[in-house]
Symmetry: C2
Subunit: 240 residues, 2 copies
């Protein structure tokens, strides 16, 4: 009997926003695995604190590199690729031994998630199931207290790592906007939003759905943002 | 003591994909309210079947019009506006009487949701809280078995009700795509996808996360689609 690898979305950051299915799988599993930055507890692991079986066996997958090497450097891709291959071997080995494994995923596993790199490698190697989750961006627009899209609004989701001119063009050409992966790109993002003439409508949400949650106008933000920061411009479409 | 109106996201269509918080609120509430097409049970109400208190009091909000009048007709906006105002009066009255009310919302309340029209009218009138949910589009890309966005992929979410040329332009100018509100616009959407040269990459998901779930290539679809249909083009971005 081969076990199944479950990629389980945990939602934006409050355990109460996990799905009923995710909650049940996390509490029942003997094997859990999760990504984290080396030396940190990791947000995914923190989210399930107090929920695990006493005999749970944890497999922490420490990224070999996060921001130390530029993404464009071939060494970055090489090191990550070898890392994902090693994680895949380990998880597939557990499945071969008949074990069920829950891989904890922040947000939704199929939306800019690290689990996708295991999912593609596990295909044909072990049974995989995915449990969707509430995305970080849903957490962010809920925190902002304003709906993100109305009627026929077009929503664009982009990463702040894009070139400034491309960001500006995208921000100009959409009704509603979500920007992720902000961090040290905040000054560039701010320039792009201003160039698109939309600074007055832009909001930053830090740590959505977490204890440290903060919502502010982009104009009131500093020059850097924590990893869990999302920029929002709310759509203004049709509303009876 | 004024009661609170809770706009509660129920997720894409499987009760198991409700959040733990949504599940708890639905089971505990005495007053629930939900939108539906006149004469139907309604998807939101169907989702909570078997979960309600025996003494639960239901307030069904029947849309006075859905597709009988064109959206562009002022009569459409007038009738919906009066309807939302009446629903707001009723719910605010319950809150004034100290009652907590759960308004059932398909997907995520702040993402193209009808609850938004109550939320904006209740502001300053009664306390409102929103519980985010897993979106229908997350349910759809999970059903497709393929991640929607990788690396720096730009995701565009649009409605099939947009003009054909605008749809074509949007489909050409994005990495990943989600199109909602398809229904009778499917032939137009298909032409737009073809004009953008992306028909081979396009998938339709009907009834994501529900018993009737179907995933098919756009090329294999007919000329109409049920209400719960989402078109997907998956991003092909960076993957170590």
């Amino acid at each position: 009997m081969t076990g199944t690898i479950h990629g389980v979305g945990l939602g934006p950051g409050d355990p109460d926003l996990m799905s009923v299915r995710a909650d049940r799988l996390v509490r029942a599993t003997r094997h859990i695995a999760y990504f984290r930055k080396r030396g940190r507890v990791g947000q995914a692991r923190r989210l399930v604190e107090g929920m695990l079986r006493a005999d749970a066996i944890e497999y922490a997958m420490d990224y070999p590199v996060t921001t130390e090497i530029p993404v464009a450097d071939p060494a970055y891709m090489d090191r990550l690729s070898a890392f994902y291959a090693e994680c895949t071997r380990h998880l597939a080995g557990l499945a071969d031994a008949g074990e069920e494994v829950v891989v904890l995923c922040e947000g939704d596993p199929f939306f800019y998630g690290s689990f996708m790199h295991l999912h593609s490698r596990l295909a044909g190697r072990a049974p995989v199931r995915v449990v969707p989750g509430i995305t970080g961006m849903s957490g962010a627009w809920t925190a902002s207290g304003m709906p993100i899209t109305w009627g026929e609004d077009v929503l664009t989701v982009a990463a702040a790592t894009l070139p400034e001119a491309e960001l500006t063009r995208r921000i100009r050409d959409t009704d509603a906007l979500v920007v992720m992966k902000i961090g040290r790109h905040l000054p560039k993002l701010r320039r792009a939003v201003a160039a698109a003439g939309r600074e007055a409508a832009a909001w930053l949400v830090e740590y959505a759905a977490m204890a440290e949650q903060r919502v502010m106008r982009l104009a009131d933000a500093g020059d850097s943002a924590p990893y869990f920061t999302i920029l929002l411009i709310h759509g203004q479409g049709r509303r009876p």
